[in-house]
């Protein structure tokens, strides 16, 4: 059971604004990836049994977060996907993020993240490969069987064989049942007893988290809506319904296979307008960097 380590075809050839927004979310993933290793350092002094539960819980939570972000981003895009589903998944992501902030994991996340920032390449590929890498490292429990991305249809994500008749598994032990059971127990039993020093940092990082989350969803808004955007552009698109650029269309629209839609039009327009529109995208990135600096307290 290993995830395919190639980028799904739908990730290739994105318009730049979309790539930027995915990078924000992906950076969040990357940051969380590092949290697994760092968390262990703090649990040395805690009782081993509770430590195991906490680690298990945090790992499950991490997997749920990854799963949710992948679901949000990889939608097959011939038809507008279900908004209810997208909203529920987004709420789950927020919920996890809030919890991670409160128990201090988010603080660790941002610290780990501050050093590196691969903002220039698609990190989704790395996330897809992450699981297999970590499995080799710590042989953690496998929460997925196989994720097939051949036609980028989420429905082809398979769980353990018993649960779905579309089984593509290779007979690996189905731990899903146990994990699910542990999941709910872990919610009840989990220990959020990180050291006190993290609590006050936690508040600061929560502010940062909210802003970052806002950035993640905010950058989904097209350049048109950013403050100080090119007035010529605005005039050009004044007749267009602004709701088009709203989160709903972006959230549901995220992985359009590149068609000649208005997004492409916008790109071809802005390229002739020079750096103006690019700068608003850059502004968003700069703002994020700025916020990260605040969080890290440099």
């Amino acid at each position: 059971m290993s995830l395919l380590c190639q980028a799904p075809t739908a990730l290739v050839g994105w318009p730049p604004w979309l790539e930027a927004s995915v990078q924000h979310a992906s950076q969040f993933w990357m940051a969380n990836m590092y949290s697994k290793g760092t968390k262990r350092k703090f649990s040395d002094s805690v009782d081993v049994a509770t430590d195991n539960k906490a680690v298990l819980y945090s790992r499950q939570r991490q997997s749920l977060l990854d799963m949710s972000l992948i679901k949000l981003q990889l939608c097959h895009m011939l038809v507008e996907p279900n908004m209810c589903r997208s909203v529920l998944i987004a709420n789950t992501v927020r919920h996890i993020q809030e919890e991670m902030t409160h128990d201090g994991s988010w603080q660790l996340v941002t610290e780990a993240f501050s050093g590196s920032g691969p903002s220039d390449h698609l990190v989704a590929t790395e996330v897809l490969c992450r699981s297999s890498v970590l499995e080799q490292q710590d042989g953690g429990p496998k929460l997925y069987s196989v994720m097939g991305y051949d036609s980028c249809h989420e429905e082809e994500v398979v769980t353990d064989e018993g649960l779905c008749s579309v089984a593509v598994g290779d007979g690996a032990p189905a731990l899903l049942g146990t994990i699910d059971h542990c999941w709910d127990r872990a919610v009840e039993d989990r220990v959020i007893k990180d050291s006190g020093s993290e609590v006050k940092d936690g508040t600061r990082s929560w502010e940062g988290a909210k802003t970052v989350m806002g950035q993640v969803f905010g950058t989904f808004e097209i350049k048109n809506g950013a403050p100080g955007s090119d007035p010529a552009l605005e005039e050009l698109f004044s007749a267009v319904d602004a709701s088009y650029y709203d989160l709903d269309t972006i959230l549901t629209d995220i992985q359009s296979t590149p068609k000649m839609g208005p997004y492409n039009l916008l790109d071809s327009m802005t390229s002739s307008h020079g750096p103006t529109s690019n700068s608003s995208c850059r502004t968003d990135l700069n703002e994020l960097d700025h916020i990260m600096e605040i969080i890290v307290g440099s």
Partner: protein, 447 residues
């Protein structure tokens, strides 16, 4: 009306099944909505291919009165075609999301059918006579030379083979930015409402070029979007009252007399969350997939992922009855989240006397609950138990370690076989159950 389960001599038996037997199911044949009309004489189904098929209940045979009549195809028509939204570069599916019948006012039947964006009013009429003996044209339709006509005659109506014609009478388009999930005909028989993810519109059946927006929950800043409308329905008696449910498990009852825009609810129904069962999936499984008023108008029923709840309209803080549909899935929520089954939208329905409710589950199981006796039963819609008038055997899912004979374990359930759409005849114990591309009709045994 008799109860659903146990009960003296009361049993459900197979009546008919419609649809292909093939293992390979064509996507377009998947049934997406099922609805009886107000008399129960007609049964309409809509599918993913945009087609509507209407079945009619045949009169019982006079020779064999103990056999209830069957439902046979009455009319088939293409209601919606796939469209392309050029602005967003996205397809608009032709899948029929809902069908609602209008109360019958003359010999013709009217229904509303909707896909994600457009609602259509269809007239289904019968023609069994043809006029013959026109003066100006021949029997085969060719025009006659007026100078050749030497005498006049009165055309005579001659019987012909029954022809059922479906024609679109109104098209209500361009009023919804988001996907329509519900339509509901008002008790005034003049208006109806349509609901999408964020807005509800009120239409007049005669007017297609405008509609009133009566609910709008779209936030000014879409980043703050956390809740969507999942279903809406008009009250069966009070034409000023309607309800809508949300993805957060709440139901709002609104009175259209209070304001033009009913953003402020009159009543707010929500059950406080049980803190002991809180998990990351709590919100998702609390999302309401269907809301239905009882025929009496005193109660309403909501379906969330694991349960069905009956609410008294006079009590907002909790439901009066809760029925667990498939509680054994609670420990599988993570897997069901991964394979997206957790987002399946199950519907629910009342029987004619409001004494029983029915809803679907996985593995082609469906459940019925008797509100009076508190008994419940699980039945399966399968080809194996499809012998004429064969009694349906109750099914059971084993939850513990030991699996008894005839029980099925949770891990063996087929999550691709889901029963999302069911309908109960308004007057009799006849039910229609949509299992993917097959429509099963069951009825009670007449002894």
């Amino acid at each position: 009306m008799a109860g659903v389960a146990g009960g003296n001599d009361f049993q459900w038996c197979f009546s008919q099944v419609k649809g292909a037997i093939d293992e390979d199911v064509a996507e377009a044949d998947i049934i997406s909505t099922v609805e009886f009309n107000h008399s129960g004489e007609l049964l309409a189904t809509g599918d993913k291919g945009g087609r509507v098929v209407i079945f009619q209940h045949e009169q019982e045979c006079k020779n064999r009165p103990h056999l209830r009549g069957e439902y046979n195809v009455y009319s088939t028509f293409q209601s919606h075609e796939p469209e392309f939204d050029y602005l967003k570069s996205l397809e608009i599916e032709e899948k029929i999301n809902k069908i609602r019948w209008l109360p019958q006012q003359n010999s013709a039947h009217f229904l509303l059918s909707t896909n994600d964006k457009t609602i259509k009013l269809w007239k289904i009429g019968e023609r069994d006579k043809r006029a013959e003996g026109y003066n100006l044209k021949d029997e085969d339709g060719r025009l006659r030379d007026p100078f050749r006509i030497t005498s006049l005659r009165v055309p005579v109506l001659m019987p012909m083979d029954l022809m059922v014609e479906a024609s679109p009478r109104r098209v209500f388009a361009n009023a919804h930015t988001y996907h329509i999930n519900s339509i509901s005909v008002n008790s005034d028989h003049q208006t109806y409402l349509s609901a999408d993810d964020l807005r509800i519109n009120l239409w007049h059946l005669e007017i297609t070029d405008r509609s009133f927006n009566i609910v709008d929950i779209k936030p000014a800043n879409m980043e703050e979007l956390t809740e969507v409308i999942t279903a809406a329905e008009c009250h069966p008696n009070q034409c000023n009252v309607f309800v809508y449910s949300s993805s957060k498990g709440t139901i709002r009852l609104c009175d259209m007399r209070t304001a033009a825009l009913c953003d402020r609810h009159t009543k707010f129904f929500e059950e406080p969350e049980d803190p002991s069962s809180r998990s990351f999936f709590s919100e998702i499984i609390s999302s309401i997939s269907d809301v239905k008023f009882s025929h009496s108008g005193r109660y309403m029923m909501t379906r969330d992922y694991l349960s069905v709840k009956v609410w008294d309209l006079n009590m907002e803080n909790r439901p009066v009855e809760t029925y667990q549909v498939h509680e054994y899935l609670r420990s599988k929520l993570c897997s069901l989240y991964e394979n997206d089954c957790i987002f399946d939208k199950f519907e629910c329905c009342w029987n004619g006397s409001d004494s029983a409710i029915m809803t679907g589950s996985y593995n082609n199981f469906f459940r019925m609950f008797d509100r009076n006796t508190r008994k419940d039963i699980t039945l399966e819609a399968s080809r194996e138990s499809s012998k004429p008038r064969a009694t349906l055997k109750p099914r059971k899912v084993s939850t513990g370690g030991k699996r008894k004979k005839d029980e099925i374990s949770v891990d063996s359930l087929d999550f691709n076989k889901k029963i999302l759409h069911t309908a109960w005849h308004p007057k009799e114990n006849v039910i229609a159950v949509a299992a993917t591309n097959n429509l099963y009709i069951f009825q009670d045994k007449i002894n």
